[in-house]
Amino acid sequence: MSARPTPVNKNFGLSEAEFKRLQDALKQGNQQLFEQIFLSHFERCRSLLVVKYGARQNDAYDVVMWSLVQFRHLLLAGKVAYGNLEAYFMRIAVSKYLRDQNSGKEIPTETLPEELDFPTHYLEDEETLAVLAKAWSKLGDICRKLLQGFYYDKLDLRSITALIGDSSEANTRQRKVRCIKELRKLFFELE
């Protein structure tokens, strides 16, 4: 006789308090816990796509990886509630997989998580993306941390100031302007 699933094993082994701690850590720019928990479940999620949906190993890998990135964004945006995290995560992954498999075909809208509304209409220009990636790699470490904190991890100003070890939030604000200028300079001047 199988045991009735508890909230913990429906939530990647996290209790509600641990889930809250994970969210707080992410909001402070610390994603160690997120990686520790979700990467340890990676293979299981991939296997589910392979076994249940007949996905190929590498397709399933890409989908789970993509879903993890999206899930992290959703966690940071506060759009994920504790309850059945695994089902929610797999819904994202399965939707993505089905969408990829049926690209160009009509997909019933109920299979797509409505929360995934991150804009993507500027991302088709791969050449521009490659130039930005190169510019980003040339940017100084402090500016990278700062801009990632602002635009990717959605951290508040105080957390970013602490993260980069700045003396004040006003300084961080000024530094942000300089970092944006530096990134644009690299982005526009690269051949």
Binding site: E35, L39, F42, E43, R46, Q57, N58, Y61, D62, M65, W66, L68, V69, R72, F118, P119, T120, H121, Y122, L123, D125, E127, T128, L129, V131, L132, A133, W136, L147, Q148, Y151, Y152, R173, K176, V177, I180, K181, R184, F187, F188
Partner: protein, 230 residues
């Protein structure tokens, strides 16, 4: 034609203190890629790869099949080459079997038929009864009246008898060499070469056969044996 996004952005007046919506999307995509690369590395360290081991093995299968085929071919080629190489011992026994009785032109010294034992021995030898002849030669040797011809023929009979005794033949040929003043040198060399090869004493056989190969009457056969011995 629509200009690349970078050119469009360059032409725009962008806010100094914020990234534009387009820039933010691009940066987010770059950082998504960076994060995925980092996680992929962490997963790989835990043994989780984009392609499962079986898939990677499956991909390697054609290469493994080629390698296995090459190995099989190499083994087969080696086996064929090895099988085609004559065995030195077998070759030596073939040569011994083909040795013809050295009557007449072999007996280069004095006339040995001076007593009855020797006479009977040579009669047996002449009719190809090598075992009886060998017994006669052994009796002559034991009586201490054997000549170099007796020793050479004793060795020959030991090789050609129905129950060849290569060790005995070797002893007789070596004794004959001690007594020889040069008249039987070439015959003794060839017989010793064959006997050593038959006993699988390669180095000694090669020494005798190399001498024979360089201008002896059996030079060609000696070269064949040398090749098989090497």
């Amino acid at each position: 034609m629509k200009a690349p996004l970078r050119e469009q952005l360059r032409a725009q007046s962008l806010p100094e203190d914020e990234l534009s919506e387009a820039e933010q999307q691009l940066l987010r995509a770059v950082l998504d890629e960076e994060m995925q690369a980092k996680w992929a590395q962490a997963l790989a360290e835990k043994g989780v790869h984009r392609e499962a081991t079986q898939v990677r093995l499956r991909r390697l299968r054609p290469l493994l099949a080629i390698a296995a085929s090459m190995l099989v071919l190499a083994v087969a080629a080696w086996w064929l080459w090895h099988a085609s190489q004559p065995d030195a011992q077998e070759l030596a026994f073939d040569e011994i079997a083909q040795l013809s009785a050295p009557i007449g032109n072999f007996q280069r010294g004095k006339n040995n038929e001076t007593d009855s034992l020797r006479s009977a021995t040579y009669t047996a030898y002449a009719r190809g009864d090598f075992q009886s002849a060998l017994n006669g030669f052994i009796a002559l040797i034991e009586k201490d009246s054997a000549t170099i011809e007796d020793y050479v023929l004793a060795g020959f009979c030991a090789l050609k008898s129905s129950n060849p005794d290569l060790n005995a033949a070797l002893r007789y040929f070596l004794e004959a060499r001690k007594l020889d003043s040069g008249g039987y040198a070439e015959d003794i060399r060839w017989y010793l070469g064959l006997t050593y090869a038959g006993l699988n004493e390669k180095e000694k056989a090669l020494e005798e056969l190399r001498a024979e190969a360089s201008g002896g009457r059996k030079a060609e056969a000696a070269r064949k044996l040398i090749k098989a011995l090497q």
